[in-house]
Symmetry: D2
Subunit: 343 residues, 4 copies
């Protein structure tokens, strides 16, 4: 089968790999659609991020959906032909964090397409992927495989929302409106936020933010005064979702969030220099959010029930043969939001 | 009456000021004891901190206790002779934060001995101080005026504890064990923490931390490996109270706190460069804590009921005539913990 | 001016009362629309509820909107002609609960049309009402006075939602779908609940529940087995809003809510016999919710911004001359939802 | 080996049963001490409680400690001779509640000495008990086997405390001061409660409550006015732990708890008639608490570190040959607190 494999920065190849038949409790999925994520782009452009670097060829991809091709012994939740979203997260289920119900903090996590471990955990941008049955989540008729492949980034945002407490009636700031930020706007809108201000420095993300429910979209470079009024009386926003990974956006949030407000930093980011005096004086809570846990199933369910519609966030689809072009476009924030590859 | 007035860095004078008779709803307190706080030291040594600078002579001090000398019309909670701890905090009670019950975030706060406003709010290191009746909190017989003057820093720590959720059964790290850090250890001990590790780079704070309940006291400079085991399995501490105001201690906490743990940053601090990738991946909550609210009355009550004994944190007492020496000693972390001035 | 005054059970009169000119900080509102609430019906039908009984003639009504007719000295937030929703709640602002920000628990509350105090606090079903300026909340052009008069019951539901934590992605049960229950469904829908099951024993409420977002509407008398599947595996619902005030509905919730789930009891109710063994074994939290606090302003804002549309809950409007008929219809759950009186 | 087996109400026998050698991952413990719990007493006196009834002979007991006698293959945490507290709780680890980290809500729980399932889960009042290695928790030298056998009831109280949020600085009411209530007082004291009022209608529990930290002990039958002042201003207590299982005590709590306060109902209880109007108007949260989860290990650790001293709650010890007398005494609330059987 063909797979989208990264060998070195910019050296992306369509390799031919052997597929693996499902063992007991496993399922082989014929992949239909796969979304390119920011971490895929880091591997593609830089060979990794921080101390995480590819040290052997690695199939990319962890946002995939498809159709069950074969099931191993004892599998009950799906059968051949079932359309599924594939949960890329495979926690060990026995470490102390798994036992406490914090699976995303698993000490022995296997997550598709990640070079954190060696040998690397191979990704899912391939014609077939064999996973545990629990990782194959059936999707309702109502949603397409393209939408199903959004379950992963959507669940990241559902998990982020859960770190912020109730959003209903709240004033929310979202900085950085690429696919994750835009989905965050969508989640805040679905959760009944009273006001959602979105910022970005590119036009496409701002347009998308407005489409999925932002009350207002601001480019703080073009319009440097637009955010100032929100700083009045120590700040206006109850919650800030920071999805740009930039220090300047995080500092903006610290200035604009009200006393006792919450900032949720999404995505990995690196180092950031912060005005601790302001964070302290306003008693802000700055929380990290990392991947997701049982939000994956919820993401599928809420899309399937028509409560969340992610389609405005999907901008482009490429056949797998054009994977290279897909990755190039995905890296251009002015032109693309979520770029998907059709297998 | 005499007052301890700062005119410029190191220019501390015993000035003679007029006392003010209490108006309706007010109380004049003859000050008995006053503790020197870190912010007093900043005014004394540097004329302020950050952008807050003394622009006119200012009486220092906000940790005081004494005896009611006179009461204005309509005062019912105290009478002449009542021993009181003086709450240095005077929120406006009408702004939106006061109305929401967040008095420490008041938009028009008057806090003793603070140069944040101009004209400055004069402090309480003077022979008499006139305050609202509600600021004069009667203290039980059981506690001395020296202990009563600890109500303010203790209430800072009670407020910090409230930002961390329940401490009972928790593993707690306290970095920086000057008076605030040591009181934080004491509070964590009183709140039933299962384990309290305290760090400092001076010996006197570490000794005091052990006296007030730390399980272990570590000098991370002298013993650089001592903290390493706590980093195992992504970190050990449920809660970290950061009372040193240093970037290195905050970074240590981010490394040693377990996933989903909480860091409470006490005190103002300046800028700090933080490893956001670690905070994000471990989903740590970093919260600021600022002054206190109704914890002041609770501090008096818990000392009065013998539940909290702050005496091990008081190291020295000077007569007001030696205020200069008191300030010099208070600045020496190896020799002194809380230094108080007797009026 | 004319006012709708209850003198005794079923003895509702259109009395002529003197209007009161606004003093400093006050506003006189010409009432446009007023909704009949369950407590109004209790006064109308029974002269009160529990130990609360009318002991003198009392103007009914606390769900009103109108147009500012005159303003007293120092009023800045509105001017004559401003359309407003009238907040019927007037806490003392100085008791310990007000100071702590829990205004709905005020020890000296004045709430329109309530016989809890004597002399009674007169209600707002009159041609003019004079209130504190802060009670007159301007409403956007977008919403009608009929909708504005829904701000009060909507704020009751917003407050109830706040007692339940985040509803986003949750499975919600609402028992009793009169005006409050239906608004509760609407609030849960707006807050992004994943599933909302509504129950009632009358058809009109069930139809309305479906209109405002219930996933499913069940009459447990007609279809006694319909709820059983939700009891599987110790229960299915994360949150139960109980708005019927009946013991049987509360017991149903205890059976159907999952372990660690939350039940929010809305409305006053009387005594109820509960299976404490089940509540204990499943570690359910049963919470009361009472009136509202700053949710009133939020209710106006969310209607004004088009986030919440309450119109499907308003069923009938009567001119004030037909107040008697309005009260009779409002008492018929099969025929009416929210009945309003136009002044 | 001998075992304390209930055959029918009051028909308690010392039967001779076969011991079971430990399989892989298992441990055989030679029981040293076992405490009699309320549920043991229910089986002894009535053959069960509610719908739970003994249908075959069942060894009683689930509060036991002892010394490891033999270990199965692959056991690493203990070895023969290790003194251990035995955790009577054995969740399935795979059901949805276990996976979410809520092991005490396990759908397939095996708990020592419980007739909830059939065949019954045999208890631990026998000379040897074979358990999973994870159920055998090593105890520090500092504590005796008698104290170690208190780990179970103590963990019940730690779990109850966790349902109430932080107790530090809070005003706490404990109703019912048998072994569980007294341990609850002890936990609240250790957690830094500002005030603890304990009630019971027997003298021995009240005396014990004072010994373990109650501020005040009240017999509401002998002194019916003593609790009245706590009802002022809508109520005084932040938290009420109800450990009597009586309706009257629960109703008392609803009256005495402040608005937004919390009541934690411990133990199973049956039906109770409650004033929902008061619970609603004061927005009280009434929560159940059931058994415990990882609090068992914490209980051992906190006793082992000298933070919690349970000895004042142990009143009597009998040799196993006198098991019958032990059960009789344990049922007399005026004479006994925790009665233990030495094996």
């Amino acid at each position: 089968m063909r797979a989208v494999v990264i060998h070195a920065p910019k050296d992306l190849r369509l390799d031919t790999l052997a597929e693996r038949q499902p063992g007991p409790g496993e399922v082989m999925v014929r992949i239909g659609m796969g979304g390119i994520c920011g971490s895929d782009l880091h591997y593609y452009n830089h060979g990794g991020f921080g101390t995480v670097r590819i040290r052997e060829p690695m199939t990319l991809g962890h946002e995939v959906s498809g159709t069950v091709a074969a099931v191993g012994e004892g599998v009950a939740n799906v059968r051949p032909g079932t359309r599924v979203a594939v949960n890329p997260s495979r926690p060990c289920l026995v470490c102390k964090y798994c036992e406490a119900g914090l699976h995303n903090q698993c000490l022995d996590m296997r997550f598709f397409g990640s070079a954190m471990r060696f040998p690397h955990v191979q990704g899912a941008f391939s014609e077939h992927v064999t996973v545990l049955a629990r990782q194959a989540v059936p999707v309702p008729e109502r949603i397409s495989l393209a939408e199903a492949a959004m379950a992963e980034p959507l669940s990241v945002c559902l998990h982020a929302a859960n770190q912020a407490g109730a959003l209903f009636g709240k004033r929310v700031l979202v900085t950085g409106c690429g696919p994750i930020g835009a989905l965050m706007v969508l989640v805040a809108r679905t959760a009944g936020a009273a006001e959602i201000v979105a910022t970005d420095i590119a036009s496409r993300p701002l347009e998308t933010a407005l489409k999925v429910g932002a009350t207002r979209a601001i480019d703080p470079v073009k319009d440097p005064d637009a955010l100032k009024p929100y700083a009045a009386d120590k700040g206006s926003f109850d919650v800030h979702f920071e999805a740009s990974g930039t220090e300047v956006a995080l500092r903006t949030g610290i200035e604009l969030v009200r006393p006792r407000g919450t900032i949720v930093q999404i995505g990995v980011g690196g180092e950031a220099k912060l005005p601790m005096n302001v964070l302290v004086a306003k008693e802000i809570a700055l929380r990290g959010t990392f991947r997701f846990d049982d939000e994956f199933d919820l993401a599928v369910r809420m899309m399937g029930d028509g409560i969340i519609d992610v389609r405005p966030v999907i901008s482009d689809t490429f056949p797998v043969a054009d994977a290279h072009a897909a990755f190039e476009l995905a890296g251009d924030r002015n032109k693309a939001m979520k770029v998907q590859i059709a297998f």
